[in-house]
Amino acid sequence: MSSTEEILDQPLLRVTNLTKSYGGNAACRDVSFDLWPGEILAVVGESGSGKTTLLKCISAQLACDDGRIEYLMRDGILRDIHGLSEAERRFLMRTDWGFVHQNPRDGLRMRVSAGANIAERMIAVGGRNYGKIRGTAEDWMDQVELDPGRVDHQPGTFSGGMQQRLQIARNLVTHPRLVFMDEPTGGLDVSVQARLLDLLRSLVNKMQLSAVLVTHDLAVARLLSHRIMVMQGGEVIETGLTDQVLDDPQHPYSQMLVSSILPV
C-alpha cells in the first residue's frame, strides 16, 4: 500500500471461517482475516496454538475442513485457492508466492548449487538464458549478503544463517506478491537472527511485499509486521495494529504473552 495509491478496496488474501481438525482436535477454528497489499501480518502464539497449521492451510499445502481461502489473482479477481486446478496452484506457488521455512533444509535443494537453487524459480517462470540466470543468481546472492563467488557451492557447505539467506533469495527472485514465513529466524544464533531480521526488513520495504509471518517471538513481530493476530488453542483471540497489541493488549492471554518477555 504505497502512499500515492488510493487505499485499495480488494484484499490480496481473504480467509473466511477456516477450520482444520486433526482427529477431532481443532487446530484452527473459525479463523477469518484479510491481508491487504503491502501488509505484513504476524501470527503469534505459543507452540500448539495452531499458527503453523493456519499457515499451511492458507498456502495450499494442507486442505482445510471448512472455510474459504481466496487469493487476488493477477487479473484482479479473488478466487478460492482450493478451487484452482493443480497446475494453477503450482504456478502460484512457484511464482506469485514464496514460502520461507524455519529450517532452510526444508526450503532448499541440498544437492544442487546455491546458484541452481535460485535459478530454479526463474526457470519455472520461463527464464532460459543461462548467462542471464547466472547473473541474476549472483546478484541475488549479493542482495542477501552472500558471496557471489560461492554461486557453485552446495548449500550444505553454508552455515545455518547463510542457508536461510539463500532460501530467502530463492523465494524472492521471482518477485512474489505474497510470502509465507514460518519462524524465519527460529533456529539461528541471536547475532545471526538480528542480521537476518534487518535484511528481511529492508527487502520487504524495498519490494513492497505482503507477507504472513508466523512467529512466537514478539520482537520479530514488532520489527517486521504492521498487524498482529494472537492465536490461542486454534482461535484468534485478538487482532490489531502491531504496536497497539503489544503496548496495550486487551485479552488476558495477550497480556500474559507480552508480560512474559524477559527484559534484557
Binding site: 502512499s3 497497539q244 503489544l246
Partner: protein, 261 residues
C-alpha cells in the same frame, strides 16, 4: 483554552478529541481496572501548539498514545484531518491508521524504542522515502536536519543503537521532522538535550507551526513550553481513580505488572 493564532484566517481544526475514556484492565493482576482518562475533550487547529499539563501520572502520555492509535480507548472519538477529511481513529481499520500515520501524524516518542540496526541517516530518510520521495532528495533533507541537530557527520552512517541518550533523541526528532506532517505529537522532545540543541528543537517546532502544523505536546521544560505553545490543556486524573500516584506516563506493557505491586 486560550488561543493565539498567528494568522487571521479562520481556524482549521486538525485534531478533535471528544469524550475520550481510557482505562487499563490488568488481567494478569487479578483483573484490576485502572481508569486513566475520562471525558477528555480537546481541539487543536492548524498552526496551534497545545501543551498537555498535569502532574506525573495524570495521563498526558496516554492522551498522546491514544492520539497516535497506539492505545485503544474504551469510548469517545479522536478525529484527525487526513487528506481534507476528519477521520475517527477510534475503531479505524489498522491499515487506515497506518495510512494516517504515514502521511498526517508525526509522533516523537520519549525514547527511540525499536531501533533497527541501520545507519542513522537511512533511519531518518525512511519515512520520506516511504512517501515516495526521491531517495537523493530525502538524503539531503536528512543530512540538513542532522547538521542542524549537531550530529557529527562521522556518526551518520552508524546505527543509532550505540548513540548517547541525547543523540538518540535527536535522531528520533529528525526522523519525525523530516516529513512535514500536518499533525505532530511530541512527548518531551527536549528532555535530554543541552541548551543549544533545545533551542534548535524550539526553532523546528516554531517552523512547523509556521507552516500550519497542529501540535500536541508534553513539555516539562517551562522555557520550551513558553516558546512554542499557544495554549494549554490540563489533563485531570479521573475522580473515580485512587491511583493518582500511578505513573501512567511511563506505563507500558512491560512494567504494567509492577503497578499493582
Amino acid at each position: 483554552m486560550t488561543k493565539d493564532m498567528p494568522r487571521s484566517e479562520p481556524a482549521i481544526p486538525m485534531v478533535q478529541v471528544r469524550n475520550l475514556h481510557k482505562s487499563f484492565t490488568l488481567h494478569t493482576q487479578g483483573g484490576i481496572e485502572l481508569s486513566v482518562l475520562s471525558a477528555t475533550d480537546l481541539t487543536v487547529s492548524a498552526g496551534e501548539c497545545v501543551a498537555l499539563m498535569g502532574p506525573s501520572g495524570a495521563g498526558k502520555s496516554t492522551v498522546l498514545r491514544c492520539l497516535y492509535g497506539n492505545y485503544l480507548p474504551q469510548a469517545g472519538a479522536i478525529l484527525i484531518r487526513h487528506k481534507g477529511h476528519m477521520i475517527n481513529l477510534v475503531g479505524a481499520e489498522p491499515r487506515n491508521v497506518l495510512a494516517i500515520r504515514r502521511e498526517t501524524l508525526g509522533y516523537v516518542s520519549q525514547f527511540l524504542r525499536v531501533i533497527p540496526r541501520i545507519p542513522a541517516i537511512d533511519l531518518i530518510c525512511e519515512p520520506l522515502v516511504t512517501l515516495g520521495a526521491d531517495p537523493e532528495a530525502a538524503r539531503e533533507k536528512a543530512a540538513a536536519l542532522l547538521t542542524r541537530l549537531r550530529i557529527p557527520e562521522r556518526h551518520w552512517s552508524l546505527a543509532p543503537a550505540t548513540f548517547s541518550g541525547g543523540e538518540q533523541q535527536r535522531i528520533n526528532i529528525a526522523r519525525t521532522m523530516v516529513v512535514d506532517y500536518p499533525v505532530l505529537l511530541l512527548d518531551e522532545p527536549t528532555a535530554s538535550l543541552d541548551a543549544e540543541n533545545r533551542h534548535t528543537v524550539i526553532d523546528l517546532i516554531l517552523e512547523a507551526r509556521e507552516r500550519g502544523a497542529a501540535i500536541v505536546g508534553i513539555f516539562h521544560d517551562a522555557e520550551v513550553r513558553d516558546a512554542v505553545c499557544s495554549a494549554q490543556y490540563h489533563v485531570a486524573v479521573p475522580a473515580d481513580s485512587d491511583e493518582s500516584s500511578m505513573k501512567a506516563d511511563e506505563m507500558n506493557s512491560d512494567d504494567r505488572q509492577d503497578l499493582a505491586g
